[in-house]
């Protein structure tokens, strides 16, 4: 085993292993800037809402006819919080009868950007925080 072979085995193979591992683990593709406190937030506003529990029995929880929530005066509609956005009219496919589907169809005709009507929720509570 001459010097070249020793170098190949003891240096070349570890370097090859390291290169393969680096290629596998180092992230490629698009970079996403991580949020750091104090930096401006340039993204469009998003509004996530939970999945409806049982679209068929709307006894409690979100009514299937509620339509996507929307920011007044802006073109932001609440996404279903899943990875894919809810398609217009998708929500009312499972609801049966009642006045709900008609209202939902009316809302979906205007697209997702139509702000739902304002509902009075009584005395509001909550908290506020800054960082």
């Amino acid at each position: 085993m001459n010097t070249v072979e020793v170098l190949l085995v003891l240096v070349g193979i570890p370097l090859a292993v390291i290169a393969v591992l680096a290629l596998l683990t180092l992230p490629g593709g698009r970079k996403r800037t991580r949020y750091k406190p104090g930096q401006p937030w340039d993204h469009a506003p998003v509004w996530y809402e939970p999945h409806p529990e049982h679209p068929v029995d709307a006894g409690h929880g979100p009514a299937p006819s509620s339509g996507p929530a929307a920011v007044p005066g802006a073109s932001t509609a609440a996404l279903g919080s899943s990875v894919y956005p809810e398609q217009p009219g998708e929500r009312n496919t499972d609801s049966q009868g009642g006045a709900g589907p008609a209202a939902a169809q009316g809302a979906s005709a205007h697209g997702a950007s139509a702000a739902p009507r304002r509902v009075d929720a009584g005395p509001l509570g909550g908290a506020r925080g800054t960082w």
Binding site: Y35, V83, V119, G122, T130, W131
Partner: protein, 155 residues
């Protein structure tokens, strides 16, 4: 390791069928702010806390204007058909403000002190740059405080 959501998609739309869901995701860049893993964690946290408590948790991330509280309450009023039982968590990372708004029914189960405690833990995470972790911890605290009402128990 299969990453179905990150595979390159091909032009699958025909005259009669729509494009595939993966193409929609590519066009709208749903993972612009958060990765798909983070979105899945947020999704699970929102859905499970809403199911556990019977309240409806929604999460807004974006600018809240000059009067953050007024804007958050306005959005809470439009957050669905029954805002009485819904809780809005509005985070404005640019302004470094988080607002939690509870409706009248929700505030009986979630007193302001509990909300303030959750907000405190959220802001601690936000200050270190962990948006998703803070939101998920806050949701967990809020849903733990609200509890699991007997009317939702089925077994």
């Amino acid at each position: 390791m299969t990453r179905a959501l990150e595979t390159e998609s091909h032009d699958t739309a025909t005259e009669h069928t729509a494009a595939s869901r993966s193409e929609e995701a590519e066009q709208s860049r749903l993972d612009e702010i958060f990765t798909f893993q983070e979105l899945a964690r947020l999704d699970e946290a929102l859905t499970m806390s809403s199911r556990e408590t019977g309240l409806r948790f929604t999460l807004y991330i974006g600018d809240l204007g000059k009067r953050t509280r007024v804007q958050a309450e306005e959005m809470h009023a439009r957050s669905g058909a029954h805002p009485t039982d819904s809780v809005l968590i509005a985070v404005s990372p640019g302004q470094k403000v988080v607002e939690v708004v509870t409706g009248a029914g929700a505030s009986r189960r979630l007193p302001d002190r509990a909300c303030a405690l959750a907000v405190l833990s959220m802001t601690t995470s936000f200050a270190s740059g962990d948006l998703v972790g803070g939101i998920i911890n806050g949701l967990r605290q809020l849903s733990d405080q609200a509890g699991h009402p007997a009317s939702l128990r089925r077994h």
